[in-house]
Symmetry: D2
């Protein structure tokens, strides 16, 4: 289990930006755009890999570091975006999973004696 | 403070995907691509807004819901990406902030009696 | 008017990729992903700029070069994507403009003597 | 060979935007962002497909139409971006291919009688 928490990281990011007078750049629009730019930098690592190669990116220390670094950048902009707009990202995700459980019902298993396995 | 935690949400997402047999699609490459697609759907909400308009997106209930929904989608794919590759996203971000504090030092304030205001 | 044509550039790109044995990487999926990665690299140049600053990017030689370079990368992957799938990008755009002219009709100007300007 | 040309399409796009008073939204920053959003909509079609499935997207009429439609949107924003900044996209691509031919030299074939196959 991680020893870090979302609110603590959001506070560190806010202090970091304020100390450098970067808040002026942090409009919701700019933060959303920066988030998508970082997500594409993560994608760039994978763009020419086969599905199988993509499953092994953590086996090379340098690539593993690069992947974790881009994950950090994506999360940093996501948390700052949520901070400036007053969104709780974990609550938003929990609510979305609730809705998706209704929207995409689990397919029912075949009844015993009536399914493929009985053939 | 949120009542949800990252690990709990990752577990719910893993159970959700497994129950629908969606794990076959969740290669790291596909999850990174899906993350970037969702980040762009968040950007789409802001693409024609001025910086000022972008700061007021939460004032309309429908847009506020749409923004929170896209945040949830981005976070969902980020957490699933981290899960399949064994990355702790909060630890990755904490490490990145540590590095950035060295890389972007806070500019020193002007010494008293020596700044622009004394001229 | 440009002295270059789309088909000629597509041929050069195809010869370039074949000579380096890069065709194996050029699945439609990979080319679409590469296109979006390059589009984000173009966006990155603008991400912290105000609308006004963004209108002046060509005034600095270095930034102007970077912008044109990213435009070239976006177009390169778009043309290669169209090549492998047999799409004529100019015909696709012409058809889309035709459809959009129906979908977004031009607002009629107020009738003479009946509009706001007569008040 | 296509019967359309880039300059003609740029003129149609400019007239289209002007007639609807949309030029106010067409800052270089917004057009670059819109380009990346459309590129991601193209990617979305492919996100869960295997490389093999992605090669067959034009076999279904509905998907083929969707792909061509997203290509048109990407090209529309690319051409409008170039128009507002005075960039010739075909010349930019030709210059980039020239540079890449130097940057990525074609690997020399093994000399006859000296290659791996002779071992």
């Amino acid at each position: 289990m991680t020893e870090f928490d979302v609110e603590g990281l959001q506070r560190r990011l806010a202090v970091f930006a304020a100390a450098r007078n970067w808040e002026q750049y942090h409009t919701p629009k700019n933060l959303a755009v920066a988030l998508s730019v970082e997500a594409s930098e993560l994608v760039e690592i994978f763009q020419w890999l086969t599905p199988e190669q993509s499953a092994r990116v953590m086996e090379t220390a340098e690539t593993a570091h690069r992947v974790a670094d881009e994950v950090a950048d994506v999360l940093a902009y996501l948390l700052q975006f949520c901070e400036v707009l007053g969104i709780d990202p974990l609550a938003a995700l929990a609510a979305k999973i609730d809705r998706n459980e209704v929207r995409f019902p689990v397919p029912e298993p075949p009844e015993p004696g009536n399914g493929h396995s009985s053939e």
